[in-house]
Symmetry: C2
Subunit: 228 residues, 2 copies
DNA sequence: TAGTAAAATTAGGCAACCCTAAATACGGCA
DNA sequence: TGCCGTATTTAGGGTTGCCTAATTTTACTA
């Protein structure tokens, strides 16, 4: 009776769905330890929860084989993702948050807002397609814009690029990226690229910055042309 | 260790503090059944929780005698009340909510917003002193404006009044009040007042409305003068 | 194909909260 | 003063979610 009627997901469940969605985006089922690591929980906690989620029909679970979301689970994940990203956009646009500080606030609010509030925020912003990190905002029907963009280290030396998307939720990483003058929309030129996963050197305006490969891979850019 | 460091209160605890604050405003300790009724819980649940809150130093509890908030508990209650009322004000001012529909949304959001967000919302609104229902918004230091105002049934026939405050959280009551054309700020004239807790008849613009005594008592007004 | 290290699950617990049923305390009245 | 109804607490349970320690499974390697 509860399972059929209650459409409400708990905060924990919503965060699990988001995590599993993010992990499985990479093309493989989410393993227990990946989920545990993502959510900062112990593997046994994940094992237990995953069983409950499977019972609720939110994911398919094969012991020792990892999990994948069902259509219902994916719908849930996309709903929360929409909430999260609209909240982030709203906080930045209307309440003066910096793009590298909104994530935490959204992480809590996403579980407390109503559908009505989300749609009002979206309307107030003109129904944006991307959040402040360049992540596409799922539409109410679950579809979303796909930003096909290039990791910064893959851009050839001499090319000019625009940073589109920062694929990180880590506050320290985001703060660091912001501190070197990068944010979605920033235009830069690749000055040098070390081989063997070495760092990328870029010029932003008249300052040069060196970005390690690990961080650089999270920066998704559009190549905007040759630079004399 | 947990009790001393962790300043975070759970959603439940925050709602208990608000309830107890509201009840004890009336001048007497809050009884178990009053709290249970206010929060829609069973008395045993309240008995149990109240013990936990006393251990956390949020209230003083004498079995069978009711509870009263400690200074710490009152601080907590006022913090949530500030959050709740600023959220209500923001939703009405900036996101097009009607004053009779914001309460529920605020009831959830109040537990999820950070101090930073609340202060940004308050700043965006110019640090208002009252929420959309006319309730005073506690300031960060815990002080608040005191609206000394008159219950509608106490206004003499022929007097003009301004509705200042609607002392109800009940969605149906609020909707009804809104439906007869009343909201904080509405000017009206008392046309008739039945004795023995009978209804009040008022004129708003050119329509007359009859308000029962129970509802009328929740409507706090300022008498603005004689009306020819 | 046996051996093993890593990954995952099971076992056993705990804290927060809520509930119903049963027992008990309180306060007013006869 | 003693009885009685009401308010309150205690007893006993349930769910969600998280944890550590122990066990089991898997997959890889020798
Ligand atoms: Mn979250
Ligand atoms: Mn984002
Ligand atoms: Mn609440
Ligand atoms: Mn209010």
């Amino acid at each position: 009776m509860t399972a059929l009627t209650a459409d409400e997901l708990t905060t924990s469940v919503e965060d699990y769905l988001k995590a599993i969605y993010a992990i499985t985006r990479q093309g493989h089922p989410a393993t227990t330890s990946e989920i545990a690591h993502w959510l900062n929980l112990s593997p046994p906690s994940v094992s237990g929860m995953v069983k409950r989620l499977a019972e609720q029909g939110l994911l398919e679970y094969q012991p020792y084989k990892g999990v994948e979301l069902t259509a219902k689970g994916r719908r849930g994940a996309l709903t929360i993702l929409r909430r999260h990203r609209i909240i982030e956009a709203y906080l930045v646009e209307r309440l003066g948050y910096s793009w590298d500080s909104v994530h935490q606030e959204a992480e809590r609010l996403e579980h407390a807002v109503s559908e009505v509030l989300i749609e009002r925020m979206a309307d107030a912003l003109g129904n944006p397609e991307f959040d402040p990190h360049g992540d596409p905002i799922p539409r109410p029907d679950g579809s979303m814009a796909e930003a096909t963009s290039t990791p910064m280290p893959d851009i050839e030396v001499g090319q000019e690029g625009v940073l589109h998307q920062v694929r990180s939720n880590d506050a320290e990483q985001l703060r660091f990226i912001a501190s070197v003058g990068l944010k979605p929309g920033t235009v830069f030129t690749v000055v040098a690229q070390q081989p063997f996963h070495g760092p990328t050197t870029i010029r932003i305006g008249d300052t040069e910055q060196v970005i390690g490969h690990e961080l650089g891979s999270l920066l998704r850019c559009e190549v905007s042309g040759e630079q004399g």
